[in-house]
């Protein structure tokens, strides 16, 4: 039994023991019946012709229905644990995760960056928003009994609440190439005091929101059209946008979640907000995954509590709330060249080779001055 270090651990283990019990029971049951038959009905004379028995509907029903009921009990139990694992809490402490061949990069909402190590406080709900620069990876922490794939061009989430301070292994569980088995590290669960100390020891960080704001106002020049405080202009207002339903040009609506904001940055013409001209240039190839997450963090910060209304979603906003969930993976971040270069990699901190990547480089270095 691996160490139990999250609120999921005991739930998963309880289900595991239930299934182990069932397995042992049924295996022993069948094997003892088999052995009993072996002894009692062993061949006593050659070429016996035992009395044929056709079968029994009663027995067939019995051993179809009972296993089905048992299977359903496992199904319901398993599903309830699954929903606990994968329904994201609203009040989680958010950490951004970017996987790449072959390392895990983390950034706290206070700006601290880590590679292959994640420091978190005990007893707090931690929510990871994850993506990858290259292939599919999978963040797996056995002691927390949870994992989730990270998929290029998408954001997936994972949450957990550590219950015990300690150092726990972190693995990549989805095969990702040559050094797959080296793509792992440690999760360091600390008491709140220790965590606060750790945070202050890594002070002077630029938080993702701050970094996103700088990208927005200075580096990328988004503010030219969306206004410095995001109240809009030639482009739609971004204040209060996050989580709202957006009316699209040509009909249809979409929920402004992370995936939509990402899509709007990388492929602005794809889902145009009603009433605006298709004048926004694409930022595909100019942003790496970390910067995208920072921009999204900034835009999310413009919707405190997600309560204020937004002009773009005035009529029929309740229409088709599922549209956001059905949005395809979104457009990828980079050209194939840029995928292989790695502007934010701490082990290779040279500026990106392609011209457009240089835009973002000063900002990136600003974020990394801890190293």
């Amino acid at each position: 039994m691996p160490e139990q270090a999250s609120t999921f651990a005991s739930k998963v283990d309880a289900l595991y023991f239930y299934l182990c019990g069932l397995t042992v029971f049924f295996t022993l049951l069948i094997i003892s019946v088999l052995i009993f038959f072996f002894v009692k009905y062993r061949k006593r004379a050659p070429f016996e012709v035992p009395r044929p028995i056709a079968g029994s509907i009663k027995l067939e029903t019995l051993w179809s229905v009972i296993p089905f009921m048992i299977a359903m009990s496992i199904f319901v139990w398993g599903a309830s644990v699954y929903f606990a694992q994968y329904r994201m809490p609203k009040d989680g402490m958010e950490i951004f995760v970017v996987g790449k061949q072959w390392m895990w990069k983390f950034q706290h909402s206070t700006g601290q960056r880590e590679i292959n190590e994640l420091h978190i406080p005990v007893g707090r709900k931690i929510k990871l928003t994850m993506t990858t620069e290259d292939v599919i990876h999978d963040l797996y922490i056995p002691a927390f009994r949870t994992k989730a794939d990270v998929v290029p061009g998408r954001y997936t989430s994972l949450w957990f609440e550590p219950t015990k301070p300690g150092r726990y292994r972190l693995f990549c569980a989805e095969y990702c190439g040559t050094n797959h088995s080296g793509m792992g590290g440690w999760v360091e669960v600390m008491t709140q005091t220790d965590f606060d100390n750790w945070l202050s020891g890594n002070a002077n960080q630029v938080s993702p929101v701050e970094a996103g704001k700088q990208l927005f106002t200075t580096t990328l020049g988004c503010a030219t059209c969306h206004n410095a405080d995001g109240t809009g202009g030639r482009g739609p207002a971004l204040t209060g946008l996050y989580g709202k339903t957006v009316q699209l040009e040509g009909g249809g609506t979409v929920t402004a979640d992370e995936a939509y904001i990402r899509e709007a940055i990388l492929n602005p013409q794809g889902q145009l907000v009603v009433g605006y001209q298709p004048i926004m240039p694409t930022f595909k190839g100019q942003l790496n995954e970390d910067q995208l997450l920072q921009l999204i963090a900034y835009i999310k910060s413009l919707s405190p509590g997600q309560s204020s209304g937004i002009e773009t979603a005035a009529p029929a906003s309740a229409n088709n709330p599922q549209a956001g969930a059905a949005t395809p993976a979104g457009q990828g971040a980079k050209s194939p060249d840029a995928q292989r270069s790695n502007p934010l990699n701490a082990t290779a901190p040279q500026p990106s080779a392609n011209g457009s990547g240089n835009n973002a480089a000063p900002n990136r270095r600003g974020n990394q001055n801890r190293q």
Partner: protein
């Protein structure tokens, strides 16, 4: 025109005729009678044969070759994993080892093993037909299989492939620098052989059953192959399309799976598992068919609940197509999709449970003997029980999140695919070996090897369940030191298993020349395949049999003679009337 064969061997004495059916007297030597093995000689007579039995043997040779290669890769994997450090081979090499092991075992051994070897040999014999419906297509399927195999081997020798047998995108399409397209094309080509075999079986079972061989008199082996053929025909084209898309994406960047071009890498997983999950049933269903035969025949009892066992095969084949999403519970697919796939996965477990219960009940009041084939049959039940029950662990959503992509999954699918398919394959091979080769295998060695294989298998894979639950991810070249003990046990088991598998190889080859000559019906069973000579003549039966008995209708040996056997003094110059 039905032509009696073997006129030259007739002795004209009643005594001689009785010898053929009496249990303990030696029968006439094989060499003296014309059968499918000695009807023609020479390489050409084998490579251009249209005889389903000879094609079955061609498959036996190629499948065994690929099984050995896959086994060698497995041994290298286990050697590397003896120590936590990746010290024997480099990680790139290790990744190729498990990829090659998976590709060879899945596509070139497990999928064709029972259908293409035993099914090819036995489907016509068991339904009373002279051959499969399309003998030339049957031969073609072997050539396609061989071509696909050579293509894949060529790719592996030239540098190999490191994507895992699952070829997940975008790793396989954009990031891997190995021979993905070449290996994929090998599998693509091989798929056609699968489709052709399935097509041949379905048409044969529909149209070529002997008079009186109604659907519900069919041996369960035939039902299982019918269900398998359905999956082969409906599923294989999907993997073919998927492989083509991967090749196109890799070569031309058309953007199906690449998010940078608007594609979706998860789409690949849907397409891949839409075939590859049913493919598991391609492996296990024929094996279940073999085990149904073994359990019934070695307890001399008709199968308890025949129609339930028969239709459970069909149910598995149909529902097997609806559960692919259970491979993707942690891939970011919708939670509600996960819910439905989990439910369906539990539902598909029920027909398998029904089979196990019916096999057990079949033994009730039987006359059970424990010859080697039966040992494999019982081994199948034991291993499949564990494989099936641990499948429930993985179908349970919340638990799957923890154990998927770990050694728990590795252990589970080896229990189902190896424990299931390999046990059925070896059991079937021993059971029908007298019919195939005309010789008996050495019984003592047979039982010994079955035991060694069973013990070796469990020692290899039981510890992997533990390592998996403790959190050891699969496909790890180097691993955390706390997992070492389980890996050492596993490697020890693998060497026992490997040794155990060499024993049948040795004595089966030996028995082809030196084994005791097999009588037509060594086990005294009623199945049609036992009612003709061992080995059978090229046309399978001396006359077209007429079936007047139910499946598994056991009878005293004197009632189970070879059908259409020539009467003494018969010159064999006229067609013989139908015999019961």
């Amino acid at each position: 025109m039905l032509r009696p064969i073997g006129a030259a061997t007739r002795t004209g004495s009643n005594m001689e005729n009785e010898k053929r059916v009496s249990p303990d007297l030696p029968v006439e030597p094989v060499e003296s009678r014309v059968n499918y093995l000695n009807a023609q000689y020479g390489v050409k007579s084998w490579l251009l044969t249209k005889d389903h039995k000879r094609i079955g043997l061609l498959y036996l040779a190629s499948v065994s070759l690929f099984f050995m290669l896959g086994g060698i890769y497995a041994m290298m994997i286990r050697l590397e994993l003896l120590t936590p450090q990746g010290d024997l081979v480099q990680s790139q090499t290790y990744n190729k080892l498990f990829t090659h092991h998976g590709v060879l075992m899945v596509f070139f051994f497990l999928i064709p093993s029972i259908p293409a070897v035993l099914g090819n040999f036995l489907v016509p014999l068991m339904i009373g037909a002279k051959d499969l419906a399309f003998p030339r297509i049957n031969l073609l399927s072997w050539y396609i299989y061989t071509l696909g195999g050579i293509f894949t081997l060529w790719a592996m020798i030239n540098g190999g492939v490191d994507t895992g047998w699952t070829f997940y995108t975008p790793f396989s399409t954009t990031f891997s620098n190995t021979y993905v397209i070449a290996t994929g094309l090998g599998i693509f080509i091989n798929g056609f052989s699968s489709i052709l075999t399935g097509l041949n079986f379905i048409v044969t079972i529909h149209t070529m059953r002997a008079p009186g061989m109604t659907w519900f008199r069919l041996p369960l082996f035939i039902w299982a192959h019918y269900a398998t053929s359905l999956i082969m025909i409906l599923g294989t084209p999907v993997i073919a399309i998927t492989i083509l898309l991967v090749a196109l994406e890799r070569a031309a960047h058309i953007g199906i799976f690449d998010p940078a071009l608007g594609g979706d890498p998860i789409l690949f997983q849907h397409l891949f598992w839409f075939y590859s999950h049913p493919a598991v049933y391609i492996m296990i269903l024929p094996s279940m068919g073999v085990v149904s035969e073994l359990i019934a025949n070695f307890s001399r009892k008709n199968i308890f609940g025949y129609s339930f066992v028969a239709f459970s095969s069909i149910a598995i084949a149909v529902f097997g197509f609806l559960v692919w999403g259970h491979h993707m519970f942690v891939s970011g697919q919708s939670m509600y999709a996960g819910l439905i796939f989990s439910f369906l996965s539990f539902a598909v477990a029920i027909p398998s449970a029904i089979k196990v219960f019916n096999w057990t009940a079949t033994l009730f009041q039987g006359s059970i003997s424990f010859d080697t084939p039966m040992l494999y049959g019982l081994g199948f039940i034991g291993l499949f029980l564990i494989g099936g029950m641990t499948g429930l662990f993985l179908a349970a959503l919340g638990l799957d999140v923890h154990v998927t992509d770990t050694y728990f999954v590795v252990a589970h699918f080896h229990y189902v695919m190896v424990g299931g398919t390999l046990m059925g394959y070896l059991g079937g091979l021993h059971y029908w070996w007298p019919k195939i080769s005309g010789r008996m295998y050495p019984e003592g060695w047979g039982r010994f090897a079955a035991l060694v294989i069973f013990v070796g298998f469990n020692l290899t894979f039981l510890p992997q369940f533990v390592a998996g639950y403790l959190g050891m991810p699969r496909r790890y070249h180097a691993y955390a030191p706390e997992f070492q003990i389980y890996n050492v046990m596993s490697s020890a088991g693998a060497s026992i298993l490997g040794m155990g598998l060499l024993i049948p190889l040795a004595y089966l080859v030996w028995s082809m020349r030196y084994g005791r000559v097999a009588p037509a019906n060594p086990w005294h069973l009623p199945g049609l395949e036992w009612r003709t000579a061992s080995p059978p003549p090229t046309e399978n039966f001396y006359v077209t049999p007429v079936v007047t008995w139910e499946a598994y209708e056991f009878a005293p040996p004197e009632e189970l003679q070879v059908i259409g056997k020539l009467e003494p003094g018969d010159k064999g110059d006229h067609p013989i009337e139908v015999a019961p």
